[in-house]
Symmetry: C2
Subunit: 312 residues, 2 copies
């Protein structure tokens, strides 16, 4: 914060506009307005930090996407990462490179989308860095949270026999849901307070790709049950069912959580589900490495299918 010697009047005014809208948070004794923010995490908890940068032309297109939704998503993807660690979010830091022309109006709309979602999850906006330039909009959000009950939920804890769950239906997100998804913060806290979650992540690139992070880091394999994969209503209904399944496995940007628990905990979770939502079991962790998909016709290897292009 501060620090660059080139603050401009418009930036100062925008920062004032933001500061007037920032509210008190009991775990943020010092927010916007000093050299840095001070946070007071709950004693005994670890601090969780995640950051994501979104750029005009790559993750959204200014002029085609409502700026409120751009701002909302910039915070939402970070909330999803905190949820994936089983954590409670505390404070967000918003940095942006604003186009010189119309930058202030754009920033205020972005801010509206950010702050509404922040309020939903009692997240303070505690700082950031405001700049204008001749380039396209870049928005970078860092979110700080804390563990709950001292529990570390990593990608590396899945064990053979564990049941694999997701928090909701998959596929078709890019038709619009990816801009307005609800990060699974509450669901994650439900889980952490209810069962021993052995591993968890949020689904951003599609389950066929993302599940491998857990398998690789846990040193295990998995078999997914094709008939159990929940297909989102956003997936085109007219598609053949194999293609619908394919979409649910590979579309990406679902931002549902994928997690594993022991069979005993899994039974318990299904018998006494959290209030308001039902975890969906989609498979089992195996000792045998690799990822498999069981369909009506047998068991086949599940390809990654995530998008990978090349830069030089």
């Amino acid at each position: 914060m501060s620090g660059l010697g080139e603050f401009q009047r418009g930036e100062f005014q925008l920062i004032d506009w933001i500061r007037r809208r920032s509210s008190h948070h009991r775990q943020v004794p010092v927010g916007i307005g000093d050299d840095a923010a001070l946070l007071a995490p709950t004693p005994g908890e670890e601090v969780i930090v995640t950051t994501d940068m979104l750029m005009d032309g790559r993750h959204f297109i200014v002029g085609q996407t409502l700026p409120e939704l751009i701002g909302r998503k910039a915070l939402a993807v970070n909330l999803s990462d905190i949820a994936a660690m089983g954590g409670r979010p505390l404070a967000a830091f918003i940095s942006w490179a604003l186009p010189r022309h119309g930058g202030r109006e754009l920033a205020q709309a972005l801010w509206t989308g950010i702050s509404e979602l922040a309020e939903t999850f009692d997240v303070a906006i505690a700082g950031g860095d405001t700049n204008s330039w001749d380039g396209p909009l870049v928005i970078s959000v860092t979110l700080v949270g804390e563990t709950v009950g001292g529990r570390r939920i990593l990608r590396s804890g899945a064990r053979p026999g564990d049941w694999i769950f997701v928090t909701g239906p998959l596929g078709g997100s890019l038709s619009g849901r990816h801009l307005a998804f609800m990060p699974r913060v509450r669901e994650a806290l439900d889980l952490v307070q209810r069962v021993l979650v052995t591993s968890m992540l949020d689904l951003s690139d599609g389950i066929a790709s993302d599940v491998r992070h857990i398998l690789d880091q846990s040193g295990v394999g998995a078999t997914l049950e094709a008939h159990s994969i929940p297909i989102h209503q956003d997936v085109d209904h007219s598609l053949p069912s194999s293609e619908k399944l394919q979409r649910a496995l590979t579309d990406g940007e679902d931002f549902e959580l994928l997690f594993t628990v022991s069979p005993i905990e899994g039974e318990r979770l299904l018998a006494h589900p959290p209030k308001g939502w039902m975890p969906i079991r989609i498979g089992t962790i195996d000792e045998e490495l690799g990822c498999r998909l069981r369909t009506k016709t047998g068991v086949e290897t599940l390809a990654r299918g995530g998008w990978e292009h090349s830069i030089d």
Copy 2:
């Protein structure tokens, strides 16, 4: 981290390159490689968070500035903010929008500059977000630190009678020093462990402008002593002395610390200075609001003089 559904092969390779170079830090139990990082601050301390974004064409020019120095500065400005809070830095998070052509080579050079400075201050690089695009380089660094001995050093604690100090000479930074300055992290820790610092900030826009943040937030005024302002050797020697003084007051990007202590603490500090450096007393906090400069010819009002332009 993760989260955007569009990871590219080159980005994956770059992230692997970075991960192989990240080292263990005792207060960072989980760094790069999960949905978020986990930090373990010292019990009883508050967490300090600051963030700065630097953009090609605004804060540096790719092709004219060594990328190692760009990376170094992106971390250094954040280290300076943590120092200004009297804190100890712990973990940095590096997000960048890399030009598609030559992005990986550029990122590796940036990384070299960042990681060398990080090592100097025992800062872990614990996460970030790597993206490529068709726009110019943007680099956004968030730095997390912690208080020392539970002390909150804010801009708002200066009291009438307090002595005003700086940690080093001022002016002429933009001729090159601004890219390679040493953030005053050690000096800040020296101070916090030695005296009761009533207020502190880092000088980014020039003392004539920055001192007002302390005055405004503390509800006080100040008189600076012209003959005591230390002029950096980077200021053009051929200038008349009033112009040299003007440079020291307004050039900016010094990244020295300005701080206040009570007269008793000030006496003690000068009698028993920290090892290796000498705090320089430049003035006194007054009850009378506003900022004044005492010269040989009398006392005059000190104008802000910082740069302010306009965006719409």
